[in-house]
Each structure stands twice: as structure tokens, then as C-alpha cells.
């Protein structure tokens, strides 16, 4: 697994709100998928989705780029502050290689869904 992705997952899993230890709230973040929709106000998913590109040389694959995604589901219209924290984390660990792919409202569940995609090597 690529080290850039591992560092990003660790940073996303450690996402906290507030500076003081007593005020720390962690965003429940699953790798790949949640099997059952968690009953949190906000939660996230991070995953490597597919091989996006490869560098070949000397008749072999030298390096591989993967496309991954971060999803935030929140009942709060503004994402309860997690939107800013996720974009700051992406900026720090994956500078310039990410974008907000979609932002939709799920009428059936009342959840707002943000999807960021990124490419890592």
C-alpha cells in the first residue's frame, strides 16, 4: 500500500474538533465502507478506489498512482465544521491532488454528502 495514502488515512482518522483535550471530538471514519449506516450526526469514509495511472519502464511497472475518495455524511447543512477540517487535511497530506467531486443531499435519509477525490502514489 502506498505510504502517502497511509499518512492521509491516519490524519483523517485523527481528525478532531477543538484544541483543548477535553473538547476533542473525533470524526468516526471508516476505511472502505460502513456495513451498517452508523447512527452519528456526522461520519466519514476514506478509500482507495482504483488504479488511476502507472509509470512503466524496463518492461515492468515502476510506480502506480491510485485514485481514492473521502466521503463525509452529515445531518448538518454546513457539515458541522468537518468540511473545513477535511479540506485542510487533504491540503496538508495531498497538496493540490484533490478536488471536491460532488455535494448532494440524500432526501431519504436527510444526510448531506460531500465527496472529495484524490490521487496518490
Amino acid at each position: 500500500m502506498c505510504s502517502q495514502y497511509e499518512a492521509l488515512v491516519a490524519a483523517l482518522k485523527a481528525l478532531t474538533q477543538g484544541e483543548a483535550p477535553a473538547a476533542v471530538i473525533t470524526l468516526p471514519m471508516a476505511e472502505n465502507e460502513w456495513d451498517t449506516r452508523p447512527q452519528y450526526e456526522s461520519y466519514g469514509v476514506v478509500a482507495l478506489d482504483f488504479e488511476a495511472d502507472a509509470l512503466r519502464g524496463d518492461n515492468q511497472k515502476v510506480d502506480t498512482a491510485y485514485e481514492g475518495s473521502v466521503d463525509l455524511f452529515s445531518h448538518a447543512k454546513d457539515g458541522a465544521g468537518w468540511v473545513t477540517l477535511i479540506t485542510e487535511t487533504l491540503e496538508a497530506y495531498c497538496d493540490g491532488c484533490w478536488s471536491l467531486n460532488s455535494h448532494v443531499f440524500e432526501r431519504g435519509t436527510g444526510l448531506f454528502h460531500w465527496e472529495w477525490t484524490f490521487e496518490v502514489v
Binding site: 451498517t36 482504483f50 488511476a52 467531486n101 435519509t109
Partner: protein
């Protein structure tokens, strides 16, 4: 001492350039149509690999039902109307105007089904088949378009 320089065939070059200028928009549009066709086929091939499941209530993550997959495969990725802007010609390939499908008495918009599969939802596993196809098919489509343009200009030159 005087040097005499003579270039033959300028009239032919000028005529060819004029012919190329006139024919370029039509050739570019035909090449774009070929490329869009490749992308559409790539998306369809990726859609065939969509994993399906029995479906469940909204609290369990699930896979699309076989009926939803069949709806996506039945319409295929369409090629949008060509948009000409000066010397540029643009189009897009996707499910934007794919219409609706009746599943178990419910009328569902196909673009919404595609978006749910491609980006995932709180109750559906993500399977980014359109994004994957656009990555894998992009280089192939560019190669086909380049070869088409080169071939068209070569034929004109004969």
C-alpha cells in the same frame, strides 16, 4: 555573381492549406465522435462489472439491485450535443439525459441511480465505474482520434 533561388510548388502548398482549413472543423467533429464512441463503450464495459445485491432497507449498506444495473446497461452512456466555440468543439459522454425507469412500480431517474452507484450513498456501496472508465478510456480515445485526424489529412494530401 548572382545567386538564383527558386521554390517550386508554393501554389500547391497554398491550395492544400486552404483545403485543410476548410475541412478541419468537419474532420475534428468526426474524430471527436469516434473518441466519444470509445468512451461510451468503455463506460458500458465498466458498467457490466457492477456488483449487484438483493437490496435492503436504508440502514444497511447495499449493492444496486440487478434491475438497477440492467437499467444502467440498457440506456448506455450517451454522447451529448456537440458544442462549437470558435475553433473548439466539445462534447461529453454520460447519463445526464438518460431518462427514467420503472422498478417495482416506482419511477426512478437513471442519472440518480448512476450517481448513487458511482459516488456511493449512506446506504449504497461506492463503485466508481464512470470515473474508472474515463481514466482507462481517455488515452485510448485520444489515440483513436489522433489516428483518425492523421488519416483524414493524409487522404486529403493524395
Amino acid at each position: 555573381m548572382a545567386y538564383e533561388l527558386k521554390v517550386d510548388g508554393m501554389a500547391e502548398v497554398s491550395e492544400l492549406l486552404s483545403k485543410m482549413e476548410k475541412a478541419a472543423p468537419a474532420i475534428a467533429a468526426e474524430a471527436l465522435y469516434e473518441g466519444a464512441g470509445i468512451m461510451s463503450a468503455e463506460i458500458k464495459s465498466a458498467a457490466e462489472a457492477i456488483k449487484t445485491g438483493p437490496g435492503s432497507d436504508r440502514n444497511d449498506a447495499r449493492y444496486p439491485t440487478p434491475e438497477e444495473k440492467a437499467a444502467v446497461l440498457s440506456v448506455g452512456a450517451g454522447i451529448a450535443r456537440f458544442d462549437k466555440n470558435g475553433t473548439e468543439i466539445n462534447t461529453s459522454v454520460g447519463y445526464r439525459n438518460a431518462g427514467y425507469i420503472d422498478i417495482k412500480g416506482k419511477r426512478k431517474p437513471i442519472p440518480q441511480i448512476v450517481n448513487a452507484i458511482n459516488s456511493g450513498t449512506s446506504f449504497m456501496h461506492k463503485q466508481p465505474f464512470v470515473k474508472k472508465a474515463s481514466k482507462s478510456g481517455g488515452a485510448k480515445a485520444m489515440g483513436v482520434m489522433k489516428a483518425f485526424i492523421e488519416d483524414a489529412f493524409e487522404k486529403m494530401n493524395k
